[in-house]
Amino acid sequence: MNADFVLFGGLAIVTVLSALGMLFSRNAVYSALYLIFNFSTVAVFYLMLSAPFIALAQITVYAGAIMVLFLFVIMLLGAEQTGRTPPTWWMQPLALTLAAILILEGIYLIFTHRTSFPALQQTLGDFGDPLQIGELMFSNYLLAFEAVALLLLVAVIGAIFLSRGRKFR
């Protein structure tokens, strides 16, 4: 047991507990705050996996921009409380049972096949730094980059179109 395992274990517990807090909070604002917490801990996992660019993109894009949008909409609609209608009675126990089976099965399969994962190599010093990612993104993945730029433009236009006021109809 070294420091890495202690760091991983502690963070994994925080990640899973914050995901559970997101699922079972009565108030949607608390759910969003738990999800921000969850995204931040996942960013630390990215740092441990030598992906600093992705870790910072996670903080700014997910924990920053996307979750602020969620909080804005929740507070704008005043939809903090969950719906009135009770779900079908057998739905929640069935979903919980199936999820428990799936989690146990997944962990069992991954840990019984752990010898088939190749051993982790020590990375080069500059693995995953923004310079390398940028060079790869603007050479091999330039077309995908442009397609994503177009997609974001279309999404912005679509969001404006959907939320236009009555005056412009």
Partner: protein, 100 residues
């Protein structure tokens, strides 16, 4: 260094929790957040395998997933706002206009 299958197991757990959220919650915004949790779990697996194989393509794919998720959230939340204006509720059990 922590072996890579720990990260894969954590990613599997997070993905299942996201799927559970889609199944048990009725609030459309929380279902949407659960979808984000599932995307995030897939991203964690991508970064873990990129680290395992020493290639950067996995990390670039994660970046594209984040961009697509941002676009999806912008349009999805606009749709939720419109649905709330129409029905005064974002309970997904109320959205049954298309039910045959």
């Amino acid at each position: 260094m922590v072996p890579i299958y720990y990260y894969i197991a954590l990613s599997a757990v997070l993905f299942t929790l996201g799927a559970l959220g889609v199944l048990i919650r009725r609030n459309a915004i929380i279902i949407f957040m659960s979808v984000e949790l599932m995307l995030n779990a897939a991203n964690l697996a991508f970064v873990a395998f990129a680290r395992l194989h020493g290639g950067l393509s996995g990390q670039i794919f994660v970046f594209f997933v984040m961009a697509v998720a941002a676009a999806e959230v912008a349009v999805g939340l606009a749709l939720i706002v419109k649905i709330f204006e129409t029905k005064q509720s974002i309970d997904i059990d109320q959205m049954n206009l298309m039910k045959g």
